[in-house]
């Protein structure tokens, strides 16, 4: 049994991710960039086994699942891509269940980490986590989990803009956001407030820090009122002719009306463009 630090004081930093389910296309960029960084970073190695075979598998800290859901009253289903990783709970069962103290929650920023030197691979934490966020590395015999790229976010070898988790750095649609969810003024907290961000399984009371932003309502036949362009009486071709005639008169058309060209102005322009043509020819010869 491992104790949790006191993270209830005001101003407590709660670093975490905000993941936008409205823009996640399921491209796997966050999953593979995570694996790529962490297999050489804090979590090294993230092993693969039977990599060319039939029973191939490996340890990953972030996996993307695609679900097809049919909401009540909707004719069409919706496909939701759902990235899953550690939510860095405020009261994580995976920590309290750890018999060696290998699993711990950092007081400084709330990140939940595994100290590989102390992990005995008993897997109690992965049983305790209701989110399935922990992965056992079969080769190393050690539990792995999202570190929020603890080796990137404070790393002064990176430019400030790159001191973010690898998954956020990679995400092409900008669906992943990183920041302090303990600070109501932070950009991530504001985003959660604006978009109705939600926590997963709040009823279990582990108080996840990460938030998910829900898909925006669709704008299709199921939500929009029918509309159609007006159709005048008589022949559509005749009306189009009238419209084209109107264009000539300079008062019809959906575009800004063409400027009337006066005779004198036209001649001036013609001369100007002839001069320009000569100029451009002589330029070309140089």
């Amino acid at each position: 049994m491992t104790t949790l630090p006191d993270t209830t004081r005001p101003g407590q930093k709660k670093l975490g991710l905000v993941i936008d389910l409205d823009t996640c296309v399921g491209c796997q960029a966050c999953a593979t960039s995570c694996k790529e960084w962490n297999t050489q970073g804090y979590s090294a190695p993230l092993n693969d086994w039977d990599a060319r075979g039939a029973d191939h598998s490996g340890s990953w800290l972030n996996r993307i699942h695609g679900y097809e859901v049919k909401e009540k009253g909707q004719a069409q289903s919706r496909i939701v891509n759902f990235p899953r990783s550690c939510l860095h709970c405020e009261t994580p069962a995976c920590v309290t269940v750890c018999p060696t103290g290998a699993s711990y929650k950092r007081a400084e920023d709330g990140i939940v980490l595994v100290n590989p030197d102390m992990c005995i691979g008993c897997k109690l934490c992965s049983w305790a986590c209701p989110y399935g966020a922990r992965e056992y590395d079969e080769v190393q015999g050690v539990m792995k989990k999202c570190t929020l790229c603890v080796d990137r976010i404070y790393n002064e070898n990176f430019l400030p803009e790159d001191r973010i988790p690898a998954c956020v750095r990679a995400c092409p649609t900008g669906a992943r956001h990183f920041g302090d969810l303990g600070d109501p003024a932070s950009a991530v907290s504001q985003l959660v407030a604006a978009r109705g961000g939600f926590a997963l399984l709040p009823e279990m009371d582990y108080k996840p820090v990460n938030r998910y932003l829900p898909p925006r309502p669709r704008r299709d036949a199921t939500t929009l009122a029918p509309e159609a362009l007006p159709r005048g009486d008589g022949s559509a071709m005749d009306r189009l002719f009238q419209w084209a005639d109107g264009l000539l008169a300079g008062h019809a058309g959906t575009a800004p009306a063409a400027r009337k060209v006066s005779r004198v102005a036209a001649i001036k322009r013609r001369v100007k463009s002839a001069v320009a043509a000569v100029k451009s020819k002589s330029r070309g010869k140089k």
Partner: protein
């Protein structure tokens, strides 16, 4: 708190970071490669790069596993047993190149066209096409013919640009984005970044696609269209807009050929051609003078509609009149198309209304003055913030050319090409319509030991440009630029092996391919393709395709069918240029190009293919590849070529850092320090256009002048959009017997019907030729977001994400057949049958089944275990797709392609599905396990 272990805050897990360019798909994003102890340790996106601006995708982040793949080839291989059996011996490079030279020089000395040189996902077509030209064979193309030539050609013949890398939506300003038939990776990061921006701004995103996965999953509106019917949907949108006069009259009048006059003299050789004055200028009807005037007259007031009589008595109509007459017809009413395309009429009407509202009521203006081609100064840039993009789902049908052209017509009617919020060109586009390059390889142009007089590929505008003999017979092995597919600007790679195997139109001596898995997932009809690859001539006992040279980095299924294997490097081990002469990576705001640099040295006996090609060229003594004394012109290999090759004086593969001081852009003398300068600049170069040149480039005088100076255009003439395409009418007239070059009788109806100068819709061929009751379902493939063809699905990490494929189908469709989730099913086409496992879903058009492409692998290939799920449960639809259409009258079999461009019609496939009687087992067909090439550590 002291109990917490110490965690280093600023660890440095790398020794060095080098920039280069990704090759995990065709986006060509900028990457930063981290190196530790001489090995690649991490790859991230380069924030300074114009393409990806720092992001990276699932494929790019798995590049490390591509680079260290056990499937890498390690040494040149020479076949020692029967072809296809995997019996090879390793040989030295000198022996390999000597052998290749002997085979190639014999072909060149006798008949150069008996070399077929085809490349796959080749990003060096600037070099490979030039090499073919210098060799003297017309039988060259890259993979465009089976990828998306319909899309490229439709754009280039209509507005001088195209979707994909020739342009992109104005992500910053667009308010309404329609995405047609885009597989999930195409293009990868730019589309994903763009969608993220649209979502943030609340712009509406409509996806037109039979399948609601990937990008479509996050669309505000999903239009689950039936495959091959997009043209009906788009035509009905055009109908609605015309009927309500919600079109941009000023834009059409000034920037398109809408007001140009078309001769109406049925039955004569000039019917349907554009009326011209004595100087050859096309004409408009000047409403002010009530007389014809030159189409580019700055003073005329062109009438957009009407029929008129010229002084010589000829009747003429504006081309817009003809377009309006077509699309205002009752057969384009939403109600008339709804059942066939599977989109309710109400939805079509609503989308048309939304398009009109955004384009016209929500128009935007940028306070940027600019001057048009007629010298008229405009105070502002008017933008119609509707943008569109399309790709494979439009392209890979036999009606794809006209469908894609129809999408462009819709864009143009709304006035949205290269305006703020619309589609934007990327340099070097716009180009003249079509670009002025003609294909070569006519009779008399292919001669022993002689270069071709021009490039093998180009743009046909009249029957005179075809590569045919006096009997109308094709001159190219793939029958490109013949009556079979006159405007096949990218060739027909999918026909090369079949035609060589059938010696139709002739046999070849050497098949030389690069990076194209043509014995497997890039081939239609795999079983017969394997037959052609191994068939022997009964008389000589030699193979019908006598010699096959194949270059690749990996042990793909194709490697096993080569006689000589030339192992390529990985993308992190070589120089490359992403050139404006090839497939550009420019941005709408200006031209860009980039390089790859070797970030690590190869640890195997492999050589970069481009260097090998230049070496072969020098050994063969090809023009431009040897100096006057016969020594190699580019002894430093591809890097030497990239820097020093000049296509025309001052124009080379890279546009940046030219000239002795490295300060010239576009044109300039070769700069010996050019690559060094690129590396200093993160391996890329970008030239930002000034604000007044960023839009309306097709008619923007300052842009056009600049483009001439930069070498993108020959002349600063405006690019006037061709709603009505005169080259098509020329083919139609030929089919009606006019002119000196007319199609043989048996081809006439097909040419007449499909060379309509205005776009139209016809049912995809396969569906027309088989009975709907026998093959009621459409079957298509998509590329998974995290994979790029067969490369991606062999990657250790990516195959953990997707190690096999399934046949996805709608629940209701499955229920009607008693098929449950996970059941084995048989899938039958007119051509063959496969066994696969079904998965049920809702987000698919009920008449469509689909799967991920290129996941199914042949057992033993790609250094995967023989029982890998890719081989045992994974499958290909390719086995069901015939490369030839069923026989027509007279017994002739056209290729399974678009009749205009020769685009492979992969998505025309029709099938029936039954629950398999035997519910155990594995995917079928299974081919013998490939053996004989070891793994590379």
């Amino acid at each position: 708190m002291s109990a917490e272990p110490h965690v280093t805050r600023s660890p440095k897990s790398w020794d060095e970071i080098k920039t280069t360019t990704c090759y995990m798909c065709a986006c060509r994003c900028g990457i930063k490669v981290y190196l530790k102890d001489g090995r690649v340790s991490y790859i991230e996106g380069n924030r300074d790069h114009p393409v990806n601006k720092g992001v990276i995708c699932g494929k790019g982040s798995s590049g490390i596993k591509q680079h260290y793949s056990p499937a890498r080839l390690a040494k040149p291989l020479l076949r020692v047993g029967e072809r296809g059996k995997g019996a090879f011996k390793e040989i030295e490079w000198d022996e390999a190149l000597t052998l290749a030279t002997s085979w190639l020089s014999e072909v060149r000395r006798t008949d150069p066209k008996r070399l077929a040189f085809f490349t796959g996902r080749d990003q060096s077509q600037g070099l490979t096409g030039w090499w073919a030209t210098q060799f003297g064979t017309p039988n060259y193309a890259a993979h465009g013919g089976f990828c998306s030539v319909n899309m490229a050609a439709a754009g280039l013949y209509t507005f001088g640009g195209a979707f994909w890398e020739f342009g992109e939506p104005d992500w910053k300003h667009t308010k309404y984005f329609m995405l047609f038939g885009v597989a999930e990776d195409h293009g990868s990061n730019p589309i994903k970044m763009g969608l993220g921006k649209l979502k943030e701004r609340g712009a509406k995103f409509v996806s037109v696609n039979p399948i609601r996965t990937g990008y479509s999953a996050i669309a505000d509106e999903w239009v689950g269209i039936r495959p091959g019917t997009d043209g009906l949907f788009v035509g009905a949108l055009i109908h609605e807009l015309l009927a309500a006069q919600k079109i941009d009259g000023e834009y059409l009048t000034r920037f398109t050929n809408a007001p140009w006059l078309v001769v109406e003299k049925p039955g004569t050789a000039e019917h349907g051609l554009l009326a011209r004055d004595r100087d050859g200028n096309t004409l408009v009807w000047d409403a002010a003078t009530r007389a014809p005037a030159s189409a580019l007259s700055p003073t005329a007031t062109p009438a957009l509609m009407g029929r008129f009589t010229l002084k010589d008595g000829r009747r003429v109509a504006t081309s817009f009149t003809l377009l309006a007459e077509r699309f205002l017809g009752d057969d384009w009413k939403p109600e008339a198309v709804a059942d066939r395309c599977g989109v309710p009429a109400a939805s079509i009407k609503r989308i048309a209304a939304e398009l009109a509202r955004v384009a016209f009521d929500e128009a935007i203006t940028l306070d940027v003055p600019w001057t048009d081609h007629l010298g008229r100064r405009h105070d502002k840039m008017v933008g119609r913030p509707v943008s569109m993009h399309g790709m494979r789902g439009i392209s890979a049908h036999s009606n794809g050319f006209h469908t894609c052209r129809m999408i462009h017509i819709l864009q143009i009617l709304l006035g949205t090409i290269d305006v703020p919020g619309g589609y934007r060109y990327k340099a070097p586009y716009p180009k003249p319509i079509p670009p002025g390059i003609k294909p070569t390889g006519k009779p008399g142009q292919v001669k022993p030991n002689t270069a071709l007089p021009g490039p093998p590929l180009g743009f046909v505008t009249a029957p005179e440009d075809l590569l045919i003999d006096e009997h109308g017979a094709p001159q190219r092995l793939d029958k490109a630029f013949s009556w079979d597919a006159p405007m096949s600007a990218h060739g027909l790679m999918h026909m090369v092996i079949t035609n060589a195997g059938l010696r139709d139109p002739y046999g070849i001596d050497v098949l030389f391919m690069y990076m194209a898995n043509m014995s497997w997932n890039s081939a239609m009809n795999v079983p017969d393709t394997l037959k052609y690859l191994t068939a022997k001539d009964e008389k000589t006992g030699d193979y019908v395709i006598p010699r096959i040279i194949y270059a690749d980095s990996y042990q793909s299924e194709m490697v096993y069918y080569a006689d000589l294997v030339l192992p390529d490097t990985t993308y992190l081990e070589r120089w490359d240029c992403i050139s404006l002469l090839d497939r550009p990576i420019s941005e709408p705001d200006g031209p860009a190009d980039s390089i790859r640099q070797p970030v690590v040295e190869p640890d195997r006996d492999v050589r970069p293919f481009q260097t090998v090609l230049l070496d072969l060229g020098a050994r063969l003594g090809l023009n431009g590849m040897v100096k006057e004394d016969g020594s190699p012109r580019y002894p430093g290999g591809y890097a030497d070529y990239i820097v020093n090759h000049e296509r025309t004086p001052g124009v080379g593969p890279l546009a940046g850092f030219r000239g002795a001081d490295g300060k010239a852009e576009g044109k300039g003398a070769p700069n010996p320090d050019q690559l060094k300068r690129y590396i200093e600049h993160g391996c890329h170069w970008f030239h930002e256009l000034p604000e007044h040149m960023k839009y309306y480039k097709h008619v923007n005088r300052d842009y056009l002048d600049w483009a001439v100076g930069f070498g993108f255009l020959g002349k600063a003439d405006p690019i006037i959009f061709q709603l009505y395409s005169e080259p098509f009418q020329k083919f139609r007239l030929a089919a009606e017997g006019h002119g000196s070059i007319v199609p043989p009788t048996e081809h006439r109806a097909r040419i007449r019907d499909h060379f309509d100068p205005l776009p139209f819709w016809y049912a995809p061929f396969e569906g027309e030729m088989v009975k709907a009751e026998d093959f009621p379902l459409h079957a298509v493939t998509q590329r998974p977001m995290a994979m790029y063809h067969s490369w991606g699905s062999q990657n250790d990490w990516l195959r953990q994400i997707l190690g096999r494929n399934w046949l996805y189908m709608a629940r209701e469709t499955a229920a009607a057949k008693g098929i449950a989730d996970g059941d084995w099913v048989t899938v039958t086409s007119h051509h063959g049958q496969i066994r696969a496992q079904a998965r049920l879903m809702d987000g698919v058009e009920p008449g469509t089944v689909w799967t991920w492409n290129a996941i199914g692998k042949r057992s033993g290939a790609w250094a995967l275990d023989a029982d890998a799920p890719e081989a045992k449960q994974g499958f290909l639809l390719n086995h069901l797709i015939s490369e030839l259409l069923p026989e027509r009258g007279g017994g002739y079999r056209y290729s399974n392609s678009d009749p205009v461009t020769g685009q492979a019609a992969w998505y025309d496939l029709k099938v029936r599905i039954e629950r398999a009687a035997d519910q155990s087992g594995e995917a079928d067909p299974q081919f013998p396990t490939l053996t004989g090439i070891g793994r590379t550590a």
